[in-house]
């Protein structure tokens, strides 16, 4: 792999940028792999990368039905934070945050990680109590968070309307929170994994699993049978479909979650802003577009669209909090299919099928966890036992009752 640097930029400028090496190969699938990862989103690509880098397993294939990062990786609002309530959640999201902080150097690929700060607004007494409780819990776990008065919020975000219908009473600020470029995350992981020998196979749909005596032996795909000693399934909204193919059920329901971007503006929003009470979250991309999202639809759907009434729920609070947006035009709107658990925490688990592992249930907030999720999932697959950080997130918790109830704690924007 040619290293990206200022020197390679100059060198390639000499040949009018026509001789850049391809970022990854497009090999034909081999007969068998040590590990097959189903799903070429950022979590799957990160899993393959850490398998090769930290576990020494390079005979790995990633099978992707469409194109890399074309699912939820390309459909989220790119928010990164680690301000969760429970110890288990803190551990995994902070693990991810620490990996984010060195990711561009690690991958030799600029993922445009920007720790611009993340504001969680409080609009009522319950909100104030919630951020108080969560802020202190976060401190106890050694993660940064600060309580702000409305005046301090106004200092950071001069365009905010504090005295709106539900006035802003305070906020929780995580200065290390922020945003990253979603496509770059997928491409960076893909390029670095490919360099270590991982085969990335796109346009290859998994249509079934080859299971003999309760042990997975391979996958059936649109490009034929591919043998596998171990299989890791990282298919987000389609995890239930995969589980049904393998003969078991998951504690998941899939909903469309939509987001939208505005026309580009000059820099106006300085941080990532989330509000659970009026229900909107937004940030400004480096292109200048406001990236805005809110709630998911409340019925199971794989339509990748999202309901019309939810759009109204997004732009209403946006206009209330930031009146300057009232004449702003929205350029694009899209939906992604999120796999939601009842406790709003992910599932990283072994399954009833031996040597088959699932990493799913990230629901409405998987993007921020990408490096941590891939890292602990890779170790779990390599060792055959769940990584200590992943262990509480086993599917078995829905039978034992040891749920990790972030639903109320993390409020809205995951």
């Amino acid at each position: 792999m040619n290293k990206y640097s200022v020197f390679s930029l100059v060198r390639n400028a000499m040949s009018y940028h026509e001789n850049w090496q391809k970022a990854w190969r497009s090999p034909d699938p081999k007969k068998e792999y040590d590990v097959v990862i189903v799903g070429g989103g950022a979590h799957g690509l990160a899993t393959a990368y850490y398998l090769a880098k930290e576990c020494g397993i390079t005979n790995v294939a990633i099978l992707e039905k469409g194109w890399l990062g074309g699912g939820n990786t390309g459909r989220n609002t790119t928010i990164v934070r680690s301000n969760y309530l429970w110890d288990e959640s803190s551990a995994i999201y902070e693990h991810a945050m620490k990996l984010w902080e060195n990711l561009s150097q690690d991958l030799n690929y600029n993922v445009m990680f920007s720790q611009r700060g993340l504001l969680h607004l409080a609009h009522n007494v319950h909100d104030m109590q919630e951020i108080g409780r969560r802020g202190h819990a976060i401190h106890l776990n050694g993660i940064d968070s600060e309580f702000l008065t409305p005046e301090q919020v106004k200092e950071i975000e001069p365009t905010i309307n504090l005295d709106c219908r539900y006035p802003v009473l305070g906020a929780l600020l995580q200065r290390r929170g922020g945003s990253a470029r979603h496509d770059a995350v997928a491409w960076g992981y893909a390029r670095a994994a490919d360099d270590m020998g991982v085969d990335i196979i796109q346009n290859c749909e998994v249509t079934g699993f080859d299971i003999q005596d309760g042990v997975v032996k391979g996958v059936e795909t649109s490009r034929g049978h591919i043998g596998a000693k171990k299989v890791g399934v990282v298919t987000a909204g389609h995890s239930s479909v995969m589980a049904n193919m393998a003969g078991f059920r998951m504690p998941l329901e899939s909903f469309p979650l939509q987001a939208m971007v505005s026309e580009p503006l000059k820099p106006v929003i300085n941080t990532v802003i989330m509000s659970g009470a009026v229900h909107v979250y937004l940030s400004q991309s480096d292109k200048g577009e406001l990236v805005v999202g809110a709630g998911s639809d409340n019925f199971v759907s794989y339509s990748q669209r999202g309901s019309f009434d939810m759009m109204d729920h997004i732009v209403g609070p946006l206009k209330e909090l930031f009146p300057f947006t009232s004449r702003l035009r929205m350029m694009r709107q899209w939906g992604g299919i999120v796999d939601v658990t009842v406790d709003r925490s992910p599932i990283i688990t072994k399954t009833p099928v031996e040597n088959m592992f699932f990493n799913c249930g990230w629901g409405t907030g998987g993007f921020k966890a990408t490096p941590g999720s891939g890292n602990v999932f890779a170790h779990s697959i390599a060792n055959g036992e769940l990584h200590p950080i992943a262990a509480p997130f086993t599917m078995n918790r829905f039978n034992t009752g040891a749920l990790i109830d972030e639903g109320a704690a993390a409020a809205v924007a995951h």
């Binding site: 239930s240 059920r249 504690p251 019925f299 199971v300 019309f308 039978n399």
Partner: protein
């Protein structure tokens, strides 16, 4: 915006309704004899079908009553809605569509 046919009130706007997930899951009659596995399966585990799925809905901002529906989760098309206790409609074959 979807238009949903309430079996009691007729066609109404989607925003009047709430979905309550998979239908026809019978509560176990012997809860104190169930293992943790069986109890967890009943409460949390779902088929989450991509395609035709039977669901429970309620007409919250209307008559307030619950009913069942057969809906395609890929196209969001409602095939039919029916009252609780009525026989469920057959899943249509997609041939010729």
């Amino acid at each position: 915006m979807l238009v949903i046919k309430c079996p009691f009130c007729g066609e109404r706007d989607q925003t009047e309704f709430t979905c309550h997930g998979e239908a026809h899951i019978a509560r176990p009659e012997n809860p104190d004899e169930l293992t943790d596995e069986q109890w967890g399966d009943y409460i949390f585990f779902r088929q989450n079908i991509k395609g035709y799925q039977y669901e429970r809905w309620s007409h919250d901002h209307g008559c307030g009553r619950w009913f069942n529906a057969l809906r395609n989760s890929v196209t969001d098309q409602f095939v039919d809605t029916y009252k609780i206790g009525e026989e469920k409609p057959a899943i249509p074959s997609d041939e010729g569509k």
